[in-house]
């Protein structure tokens, strides 16, 4: 364990070591001997964590992102009320309870209630799930399109490159939000039809978003927003991946792979893509924030999630009417959640850029070593 001897460790480093050891142990129990075979890989990960630990903003970002993901996964399960629990129909006193206030029955509403007497905490928790699923779907479905087109464009060059890049330019020439509005406004009918003919898809989506089956008709709008974001979003990836591919394909090992008889696809997938993964990961992390913001923006404009589906952008919009009457928590609280989430992804992305860039990371490691002497 040379790393332990050389580096001066802080509390966070011990924590990350502990965390990593746990993961290694789990993998080891599934595949015995894994840790011995991949010792250099594990050391590399540990150093990566050390480098991340030196960046306070990165840690803040990591904490924010981790809590967002945890809230997104477990939020709807622990929420005290459902997102469509309109308590106002039980008792009008449930309206506009301020954060920390008590309802007529004596129950505490940590973040207050809105104009329909819905529990704000539950809304925020459900909203986190919506944002998380939207962001994940956009990434899982959208990023591969951009990455594959970028790889093809950069690797083959010539006319294929020209064609793909000009199409990309067309998409980039439109302002993203306006293009997304156009798609989001025209797509729902078609998606509704698709969902009706494929009940299994509808069921998967309902459970993904943790929605009540009664809200199935409102799913189409939500999905159309996801598709609209994917459509305006892949060109950025194509550009970045193409650029990285152009430089990566000049490597001698790519030529060597060609000389040993590998096909173009094999070379692209096995030897180019893994070598340009670091910048893609950084952009992905940064973009999760942008996707969440764009989705919230579209919902705010009334295009995305329809009430009563809990969506942060939509809640901000619904609450904004009451802002002037002094019911500030209706839109401010979800707004803060949007802010923190986007901020978290941006901070983490920035820190990842330093950690994943070998040159920047070596300099961090170098500083660490110097301190000891």
């Amino acid at each position: 364990m040379s790393a332990e001897e050389v580096y001066e460790k802080k509390l966070l480093d011990h924590l990350s070591d502990f965390f990593l050891k746990g993961i290694v142990k789990i993998i080891d129990s599934i595949r015995p001997g894994w840790s011995v075979r991949n010792k250099s890989k594990i050391d590399e990960w540990r150093l990566m964590f050390y480098a991340l630990n030196r960046s306070p903003t990165g840690i803040v970002g990591l904490i924010l992102v981790a809590s967002f993901i945890l809230i997104g996964i477990f939020g709807p399960l622990v929420a005290p009320y459902s997102y469509n629990d309109l308590l106002v129909f039980k008792n009008t006193h449930y309206r506009f309870i301020p954060p920390g206030g008590r309802g007529p029955g004596g129950e505490i509403f940590l973040l207050g209630t809105d104009d329909y007497g819905r529990d704000m905490l539950s809304l925020v928790l459900y909203g986190a799930r919506t944002s998380l699923v939207v962001a994940l779907l956009v990434i899982i479905l959208g990023a591969p399109i951009g990455i594959i087109l970028g790889l093809i464009s950069g690797y083959y060059g010539g006319k294929i490159d020209e064609l793909i890049m000009r199409i990309t330019d067309i998409f980039l020439a439109f302002p993203g939000l306006i293009l997304a509005i156009a798609f989001a406004a025209t797509l729902p009918d078609r998606i509704r039809g698709l969902l009706e003919t494929n009940p299994w898809l509808q069921n998967i989506m309902l459970s993904l978003f943790s929605l009540d089956p009664a809200d199935a008709p409102r799913l189409a709008n939500l999905l159309s927003v996801i598709i609209a974001i994917i459509i305006v979003w892949w060109p950025g990836y194509t550009r970045i991946v193409r650029g990285s591919t152009l430089s990566a394909r000049e490597n001698v090992y790519v030529e060597a792979a060609k000389a040993m008889g590998m096909g173009s696809w094999g070379i692209m997938i096995k030897h180019i893509f893994p070598n340009i993964l670091a910048p893609i990961l950084v952009i992905l992390t940064l973009d999760v924030g942008s996707v969440i913001l764009l989705e919230a923006g579209l919902s705010y404009l009334g295009i995305g999630a329809q009430p009563p589906i809990a969506d942060w952008g939509r809640i901000v919009y619904d609450g904004s009417r009451w802002l002037i009457r002094g019911y500030w928590w209706l839109s401010l609280l979800p707004g803060i959640f949007i802010l923190l989430t986007v901020l978290g992804f941006n901070l983490l992305g920035d820190a990842l850029r330093d950690v994943l860039d070998p040159k920047a990371r070596r300099s961090i490691e170098f500083k660490l070593k110097k301190k000891k002497r």
Binding site: Y253, A257, A259, M260, G261, M262, G266, K270, H271
Partner: protein, 329 residues
């Protein structure tokens, strides 16, 4: 001399590079035959087209280069094929399986993200010489042992950055040899290594050649290496072969003025000389190559005909060819 059983024939090869500055006529009518089981050397200074010739053999000329004309006849046990007319997928089966390359810079020729065992296994799985990855990994150890890698069971799991330069070059040779090719094209395999490792790698290549009856095409600018390793040698200058013969013929009785100059520029440990002779002038710009013989502006025997007409490669004595007007009239 043994009777030559040809394995590879390059006939009248022309390669141009279409750059923004103009058309670079990098290879201008190269013809040679490689016999089975021999070590054939291509020598010449930087930029004379050695590497491009070797890449053209399996159509790997990099952009913006284009093979304009020529034939590359590969003799398989079942018959002759012209590699330049072969479709890409058939060609891919030949690359790495029949004709393998060893690259100049072993540090760059290995993908930093994979272990060398993986990279050797990949070559075998790609050509289906070994059907399963698991077997391929086990076979990779044998391959590493055959290239005299110390401690192959351990090294097979090592990443390129964990190996020394000599070990990396052994791994690259291992990748090249893993499918037991008939021809190995070694492009300056030792220029990035220090002299002791150079000697080791060359010993290794010679040993492998004798054991497996490989045909080696060695590309180098090191005359010492040529004298030591090669059976036959082709001297290249500015995209042409100027002299071709057995090592004894070319070294003892160099005919072409360029070969003579080249040999005079190599220090001889047996004779004491004040300074080494250089060939005057520089390599011509191949966008506007000199007319006639491409060497005439630097040659001390230039005649009128040299400026007008390009000399052809003619046989002066059995097996010894030269392209110079001094000898062909």
């Amino acid at each position: 001399m043994e009777i030559c059983k040809p394995i590879l024939e390059v006939k009248d090869l022309y390669v141009n590079f279409y750059t923004y500055a103009g058309i670079v006529k990098a290879i201008d009518g190269v013809t040679f035959t490689v016999c089975e089981g021999e070590t054939f050397c291509l020598v010449g200074e930087t930029g004379c087209g050695k590497t491009v010739t070797s890449r053209a053999i399996t159509k790997l000329v990099p952009e913006p280069g284009r093979i304009e004309k020529g034939e590359i006849i590969y003799h398989t046990p079942y018959g002759k094929i012209n590699l330049l007319e072969l479709p890409e997928d058939k060609l891919r089966e030949i690359r790495g399986k029949e004709i393998a390359y060893i690259f100049q810079d072993p540090a760059a020729a290995l993908d930093p993200l994979y272990t060398i065992g993986y990279q050797i296994a990949e070559t075998m799985v790609e050509h289906k010489t070994v059907p399963k990855w698991k077997e391929a990994f086990i076979k990779a150890i044998d391959v590493l042992r055959s290239v005299l890698m110390p401690d192959p069971e351990k090294r097979v799991k090592a990443y390129p950055h964990e190996l020394s330069g000599g070990m990396k070059q052994r791994s690259v040779i291992g990748i090249g040899l893993s499918n037991q090719p008939r021809i190995i094209i070694a492009d300056e395999p030792t220029s990035y290594l220090d002299v002791t490792i150079q000697a080791q790698i060359m010993d290794l290549l010679r040993k492998l050649k004798n054991e497996k009856r490989l045909t080696i095409i060695l590309i180098t600018h090191n005359m010492g290496l040529v004298a030591e390793m090669c059976d036959r040698v082709a001297v290249m200058y500015a995209g042409n072969i100027v002299e071709l013969g057995t090592v004894e013929q070319v070294f003892k009785n160099p005919l072409h003025p360029y070969t003579k100059g080249l040999l005079r520029a190599v220090p001889n440990p047996l004779t004491k000389i004040e300074r080494l002779e250089a060939i005057p002038g520089t390599v011509p710009n191949l966008i506007y190559p000199p007319p006639g013989c491409r060497f005439h502006p630097r040659c001390s025997y230039t005649m009128d005909i040299c400026k007008r007409e390009k000399p052809r490669l003619v046989e002066i004595e059995p097996g010894h060819h030269v392209a110079c007007w001094l000898y062909s009239r």
